[in-house]
């Protein structure tokens, strides 16, 4: 067992963990943050995407004990008391979800992309989210939702 401290959605957490546990399991089982979804546990589907130290990662592929001092953002950390994050709102407005199981991962991918490239082309969006699988939507509205925030920063704050 090893004890680490890290920040999750702005809150400090102190955790004592056995070394084989993944960030995904710790988020879901220990911290009750079930927004990160398990789809394959092999880094193939992207449903477990979170933002680790500013970069999107498959949390199923990250060992939690390595995260001493790290900063983790999950979908629960987006938005705030005043409402949804503009990208979350754009997913609602553009009907970019059906079953919604890939949605937290897709939204965090969109956040990560827009943070480093505020005006991506449609092809850049598709390329960036191509590691995240969606079985319901055919991706069209997901791309549209990300593009709407990229293009219409005014409209979406």
């Amino acid at each position: 067992m090893k004890t680490i401290t890290l920040t999750v959605n702005g809150r400090p957490e102190k955790l004592t963990l056995s070394p084989h546990r993944t960030l995904l399991d710790v988020l879901r089982e220990d911290l009750g943050l079930t927004g990160a979804k398990r789809g394959c546990e092999a880094g193939e589907c992207g449903a477990c995407t979170v933002i680790l130290n500013g970069r999107p990662v498959n949390s199923c592929l990250v060992l939690a004990v390595e995260l001493d001092g790290a900063d983790v953002l999950t979908v629960e950390g987006l938005g705030g008391p005043e409402g949804l994050d503009p990208l979350q709102q754009s997913f609602v407005d553009n009907f970019a979800l059906q079953c919604g199981y890939c949605t937290p991962g897709m939204i965090l991918m969109g956040k990560a992309l827009l943070a480093k490239n505020p005006r991506p082309s449609e092809d850049e969006v598709k390329e960036f989210i191509s590691g995240n699988l969606c079985r319901c939507t055919g991706y069209e509205n997901i791309v549209k939702a990300i593009m709407a925030v990229a293009a219409g920063g005014e409209r979406h704050g």
């Binding site: 999950t74 079985r135 319901c136």
Partner: protein, 785 residues
């Protein structure tokens, strides 16, 4: 243990939404924030993990299962076999042939042999590894023709009929003679592989015993009410001892149409020392144990006269259901009913067999047999058009069914049918009109083709099994409306549509209503979320319930007003407005909250039972398909168009544009409707081009998402959609089901485009680059500019 508030969902606030207008999805806000709790997201206090020991061999006799060493491991709560099951240990719909835990024989690699319950995932893994299964291998069968050969190993020993699950024939006129007399005729055999549902949320759930010993199961399921029936019989429990709830599913597509983990959950919860249990398949286990789309071999002979009028069809469809029937006979019946496509053909012989093998289990998958049938007839139509020198779209228009026509399988279309309009729309569409210019614009070493396919899809359960729903609405003590949904929402958005329907019917703000998701304790039996029937059937029941509730509110309101006015008030003079009733003659209003205060709970609860009308036509052929759904009454129609570019150096086919033109009645919510068109097309493109499911000797070679390739955002083209809205007056507000017709015909539209581009038709399974390259090579077109 019970939780009281966990099934309430409230849609985003908004004004009164009308049918036909875009209403935001009721589930969107909770899904984008991660707040929505799927079955996978339940971690009950003090829970233990349950997991399954899989057979790993395709056919074997079980000589013994040694659970002692597993039981002795630290952290292991229980290790169970079929001996621990009190009931019949059989699941299934018509053919109850699938054990929860194998009892004597293993019939496919994914069969469940034992169930372990442990404190942690690590202890569970150790327990499963420590279970020793002593098996004696049996000769196995992996293809229908092998399975039907004399002396073949029998998958279900002692079953009358051996490996033949069902055989049927639908015949009209003299197909073979007429074919011989046709001016033009073609023959074509198409082989279709399995398709994995690959919902992102694998099969999962939790269960616990209540204080009185009854079971509560929270599962990712399309069929909470039928699950309860199946579980009661298999486990020897009474219905009222089982409660099943269905939160929003992380995808279903038919793969959760029936029991998946629920039997394991129930059994584990009965042996966990009173602790809640959780089960959650890994992706590999999901692929190993879950059902898939049926592989099929379809052989078509189609002929026409000199004018291109279809004269005769002779076809054979052979389906492999794998080790268990699941919904195979129903899938098979729908495939046969649709075998001839949406055309008028007088001389028809449709023959089919569905066969047990030791392969993975096939079952319900969006499209339900029609994608396989469409793959055959729609490629045959294109071949015939090519041979006879007709334009493929014009040939389809010439032969298309309309209202009053008879389908090739003898079904008289008695309801509005928009296929001709769909074909006309596609003919006018630039993607079709400008196809020649587009083809000629192919860059070097690329060849381009444009393909179409026309399809139809029968809605609902057919004539024998009642397609019913029981809607329930409540006026809460606070004067709000609660909609108790009896059918699961696996992502298609029917919960939203239910709220829209009630909002419209009662004139109450859409955003001000509460929703209760399916729960056998709180909502009423309304059959499955499947068969393109979910919104049609439940929506009709909801309209009925809304009528009952409206009448009660107005009657009670009129009474209250008559006390206030000291004069009799007729309920007919009172209107129901958002949040209140209004009496125009006096100008008075009474808030719904006040009215609710004068009604007891029973009066505030309105229920309504609706059963779909069925096709009562007496058809003299295909009689043994009737129980399984043939014939249907209402069909949705669609035409699909694919523009495909083939690389002559690599064989890779890229879909550049895809058009879905769909007639599924009136559209209740244009955005949700379009979502179905997008999703069905993408899943169909996966079936056509990417999802090459590989099985060898009963073992799956594509057992994870690294080897079973789903389309990504880079693989799906821009998708155009056209809606042809013809009102179906039996549907709620004129709608028909759209969930399946959207995937039918995608594969043949792509295949027809590839055939045009490559000059050679690929007819074996997924259209991978390797196969297309081989076809190009065979046709002398490899590396041609």
């Amino acid at each position: 243990m019970s939780q009281s508030d966990w099934r309430s969902n409230r849609p985003p606030a908004g004004g009164v939404q009308e049918i036909g207008r875009v209403a935001p999805r009721a589930d969107a806000a909770a899904k984008v924030t991660g707040a929505e709790r799927y079955a996978a997201d339940y971690y009950p206090e003090n829970y233990v993990w349950a997991g399954v020991k899989r057979a790993g061999v395709p056919h074997a006799r079980i000589m013994g299962v040694d659970t002692a060493s597993a039981r002795a491991l630290p952290g292991v709560v229980a290790v169970l076999t079929h001996k621990d099951i009190g009931g019949k240990n059989r699941l299934g719909i018509f053919e109850k042939d699938q054990p929860i835990l194998a009892d004597g024989v293993v019939r496919h690699c994914g069969d469940a042999v034992a169930l372990a319950v442990a404190e942690t995932k690590e202890a569970l893994t150790a327990a499963l590894a420590a279970i020793r299964v002593d098996c004696e291998p049996l000769a196995a069968v992996f293809a229908p023709e092998e399975a039907l050969a004399a002396g073949a190993p029998i998958v279900h020993e002692g079953r009358g009929g051996g490996n033949l699950l069902l055989e049927s024939e639908i015949c009209f006129g003299k197909a073979r003679e007429a074919l011989a007399g046709c001016r033009h005729a073609v023959e074509l055999t198409v082989e279709l592989g399995w398709q994995e549902h690959a919902f992102l949320e694998t099969q999962t759930g939790v269960a616990w015993q209540e204080a009185d010993g009854s079971l509560t199961i929270v599962a990712s399921t399309q069929t909470p009410f039928r699950d309860r029936l199946e579980l009661a019989e298999a486990l020897g429990l009474t219905l009222d001892r089982i409660r099943v709830t269905a939160p929003y599913l992380g995808g279903g597509f038919g793969g959760k149409d029936g029991v998946t983990v629920q039997g394991f959950l129930a059994l584990a919860a009965l042996h966990s020392g009173g602790r809640p249990v959780k089960i959650w398949y890994s992706r590999e286990e999901s692929i190993l144990a879950g059902t898939k789309r049926h592989p099929a071999t379809v052989t078509y002979r189609l002929g026409c006269d000199a004018d291109g009028v279809f004269q005769a069809l002779d076809c054979r469809l052979v389906f492999d259901t794998g080790a268990y029937a699941s919904l195979g006979t129903e899938v098979f019946a729908l495939a046969l009913e649709h075998a001839g496509g949406p055309y008028r053909i007088a001389n028809v012989a449709v023959h089919g067999k569905i066969v047990y093998t030791n392969n993975p289990v096939a079952g319900a998958f969006r499209g339900f047999g029609v994608p396989q049938a469409a793959a055959g007839i729609e490629q045959a139509v294109d071949e015939l058009a090519r041979v006879a020198g007709f334009d493929p779209l014009a040939m389809r228009r010439k032969n298309a069914v309309g209202c009053g026509d008879t389908t090739p399988t003898g079904v008289v279309i008695g309801r509005p049918a928009g296929l001709a309009e769909c074909l006309a729309q596609v003919e006018r569409h630039p993607l079709w009109r400008e196809r020649q210019t587009w083809r000629e614009g192919a860059p070097p070493f690329k060849r381009r083709g444009v393909g179409v396919a026309a399809v139809y899809h029968g809605m609902g359960f057919g004539p024998a099994v009642a397609d019913y729903a029981n809607a329930k609405l409540e006026l809460t003590a606070e004067g709000r409306i609660t909609v108790c949904a009896g059918v699961a929402d696996m992502g298609q958005g029917n919960a939203t549509t239910c709220l829209q329907i009630v909002s419209h019917a009662l004139g109450q703000p859409y955003g001000d209503m509460e929703l209760v998701l399916p729960d056998t304790a709180r909502t009423l039996p309304s059959a499955s979320s499947s068969a393109s029937r979910t919104t049609f059937t439940y929506g009709n029941a909801l309209i009925g319930a809304a009528g009952v509730l409206r009448e009660r509110i107005l009657a009670r309101g009129a009474l209250l007003l008559s006390f206030q006015l000291l004069a009799p008030v007729n309920a007919a003079e009172v209107d129901l407005l958002p949040g209140r009733i209004y009496h125009a003659p006096s100008g008075r209003s009474v808030p719904l909250k006040v009215i609710a205060g004068f009604m007891d709970a029973a009066e505030r609860t309105a229920t309504y039972s609706y059963t779909c009308p069925v096709n009562r036509q007496a058809i003299p052929t295909g009689g043994n398909l009737r129980l399984h759904g043939y014939p249907h009454r209402i069909f949705s129609y669609a035409v699909k168009l694919a523009r495909v570019e083939v690389d002559t150096l690599t064989g890779e086919a890229r879909v550049c544009d895809f058009l879905s033109c769909v007639e599924a009645g009136r559209v209740l919510n244009p955005q949700l409707y379009e979502q179905q068109l997008h999703g069905g097309a993408a899943q169909g493109l996966g079936y056509a081009l990417f999802e090459d499911f590989a099985v060898s000797g009963g073992e799956i070679a594509t057992g994870d998402l690294a080897t079973y390739i789903l389309p990504t955002a880079l693989d799906v083209p821009d998708m155009e959609t056209v809606s042809v809205a013809v009102s179906e007056d039996e549907g709620p507000f004129g709608m028909k089901g759209v969930g399946e017709v959207v995937i039918d015909g995608v594969l043949p539209a792509v295949a027809n485009a590839v055939a045009e581009a490559a000059g050679v038709r690929v007819t074996k399974g997924t259209l991978t680059a390797e196969k297309i390259l081989a076809a190009l090579r065979a046709g002398g077109r490899e590396a041609t500019r």
